[in-house]
Subunit: 421 residues, 2 copies
């Protein structure tokens, strides 16, 4: 990268919404987006006229595959009542809506539009687990998927490489799982709002009833170490290292900086944008980092003039526990090989020095892939606005937060820094 | 639309390439994109270093469905050697790469990037015709596809509505087919480089041999009126009213206006950008026009300050013959209900007052859906640069050309005006 990239015109977020994430047999993609959009409407403090929306960008990974319906841009522009305004779908696997956000920013920064709706949606739970796994494999690069690598296998390989290089082990990943499950009950949108401690106690009770004796689990890690509670998926990825299958939608309203205060006295500004692409595991000399994430981080830090130390909290793509670990290093929050120690010391907990995934993360909030990128930015916006309730980062005076989104096996990575001024 | 939209920074095209379009059993999407990119490289007069490309935007409709592979952005960024630079896929059905072009323009106009590669690709012919029809139906809106409307049926309904309202009939559509087939043999990239006259004579010969007598076809219209040569698909859409199934790729190199002359002494500038979305046929009070196309045209004319009369020639989305007819009216080239008369008078022929689809159009050049939008812009660029050889518009002093791209049943429509200064 030759220079620090800048936008010719600033962009602010003046409203946001997301549906509850989960598995909804009775809601389709339109219902879910409507839930998110309704929340967005009331989130704009001074109100706005949906007729003033100039364009829509929508992230969706593959409702083509999951729901046999592509071309979601105009379906959603019709739903929210802005047709014939333009609607563009972006796809970057699990980073699809982070791309929609970015294109919305560019469209405004270009001077062409003043108000853009960005969002994401995915509907996955109506398919069987096998069908979802097959659908997600479409997001790997050909050398991976066709070689039999599914996502748990890919991230299992990352974990073994990380363990071998840095001496970490499975217990370090458990810290990440336990932390995410501690945050999720504080998030009313989360798919799994339950702590590992509670799960352990429930499981103990049920085993006591069924088998007449309860396991001797003293700590959450005892529970996670027991295959009865936490079976292996692709070693060392166990069930509780893996995010769930989810349905959901998310959206945000972006406007040009100079008109932001017409809509709210508390706009949140886009301080840094970054995106990178990855070649795939066949081309990697070292599986313990993601080049695309590092590139995205350089771009976003360069634009913002900020450093990793300036980021007060961040959402980080934790499709698997190991993903959160390697990415907090790739983003510069911790040095390579040091992240697992910092996490063990509590650095990433809600009350830590660098809270990560206050929402519960993909692991517990859920991961409707096309909706995830903007749901992460929704969490950052919510925290910066001081609206996060029980999960509000207690550090006080939050000014700068960020979100990292990953698509496929690192094929598409984004890093977005938001700022309250 | 409240104002004439403007870009904060001008954008120019300094190179372009496309693969041959056709059905290629021995070439996959990467091979096809490589063909297009190789031509682009040599098309940049003063050369460029691919390492200076800041980002890629790639249009693809649904290789998800056709080839069981999504997430094509990073696959192509790897192919052309620009990873870890960002790569974003756009999807708007058959308008997917017109969206990629537009996002590339916004990314540069925003000030963030200076040089962006945009392209499109689709690989369809390895599926059966039935599978392709099923895949394309993913691009309709739910009320259409699920109601049994496939594309020939949708455009058949447009044609019957147009006939009923304006008194046109099938023979008027034949003028469009004959014109496209006259242009295609002049385009070395076309899938069907053959005139209707030649097809008629060949068919006569073969019937003479096989049946001992040739049909009494005197004119091309006699041939097209005979069900032996031109069977009905969905009345009044016959075989020769419908574009083919195709594979292909296309790409362009965009740069900021102020550096364009570092790459060529003859840059082509983006004068007007327009995009609209459509609600679907269930919501239309009149099937003889496409609101999304009209919206896109207003946006592009507004930005450019140009009028329909200023457009010297245009590519127009002719997935079916009737589509070309209604769109030349929607774009303002002819008044509603007057297009078929102007076409009958030869206005849209290569030597007419408003040449349309000099490339042969989707009908004869081919329609690999994700590649089509940028292939249309490639034709406009080629004509404006005076590089179109035997199909060069003979009017002389070409300054302004345009391309109209349609996705689905009008769900996504774009109109882009290019200018040589």
């Amino acid at each position: 990268m030759k220079k620090n990239r800048k936008l010719g015109r600033g962009v602010a977020i003046v409203g946001a919404g997301m549906s509850k994430f989960g598995m909804f047999r009775d809601k389709d993609s339109k219902d879910l987006f409507a839930d998110a959009f309704r929340e967005l409407i009331v989130s704009v403090d001074k109100g706005f006229d949906p007729k003033d929306v100039d364009a829509l960008y929508l992230g969706n990974f593959s409702n083509d595959y999951f729901m046999h319906q592509a071309h979601w841009g105009p379906i959603i522009s019709d739903l929210v009542g802005i047709a014939p305004k333009p609607a563009t779908r972006t796809e970057g696997a699990c980073a699809s809506s982070a791309l929609a956000f970015r294109e919305g920013v560019f469209a405004i920064a270009s001077g062409f539009y003043d108000m853009v709706l960005v969002g994401g949606v995915e509907e996955m739970s109506k398919r069987t687990t096998e069908e979802v796994a097959e659908g997600l494999a479409l997001a790997t690069v050909p050398y991976e998927g066709r070689a039999g690598f599914t996502f748990p296998g890919v991230f299992g390989a990352v974990a073994t490489a990380y363990f071998a290089k840095y001496g970490a082990h499975r217990e370090h990943l458990m810290n990440i799982t336990i932390k995410s499950h501690n945050n999720a009950p504080l998030n009313p949108k989360a798919q799994f709002p339950v702590t590992i401690a509670d799960l352990m106690n429930k499981k103990k009770e049920s085993l006591q009833k069924r088998e007449g004796a309860a396991p001797d689990w003293q700590t959450e890690k005892d529970f996670l170490a027991d295959a009865r509670a936490n079976p292996v998926v692709a070693w060392p990825m166990h069930l509780f290292d893996c995010c769930p299958i989810s349905d959901g939608a998310s959206c945000m309203l972006l406007v040009a900086e100079e008109i932001a205060r017409n809509f709210t006295d508390d706009p949140i500004f886009v301080a840094g944008l970054g995106q990178g692409s990855g070649r795939g595991f066949h081309a990697s000399d070292d599986l313990t980092y993601f080049e695309a994430t590092r590139y995205a981080a350089r771009e976003a830090y360069g634009m913002s003039g900020l450093t990793p130390d300036d980021i007060q909290f961040s959402e980080v793509h934790d499709c698997f526990s190991i993903a959160e670990l390697v990415h907090v290093e790739d983003l510069g929050f911790f040095k390579p090989g040091q992240g697992y120690k910092a996490i063990a010391d509590g650095a990433t907990r809600l009350d830590g020095i660098k809270p990560i995934n206050t929402s519960g993360g993909l692991k517990c909030k859920g991961h409707p892939v096309g909706a995830t990128g903007i749901s992460q930015l929704y969490e950052v916006w919510t925290q910066l606005r001081g609206l996060a309730g029980a999960r509000q980062v207690p550090a006080g005076d939050l000014r700068i937060g960020a979100a990292h989104n990953l698509g496929g096996t690192g094929g598409t990575c984004t890093f977005t820094i938001l700022e309250r001024k």
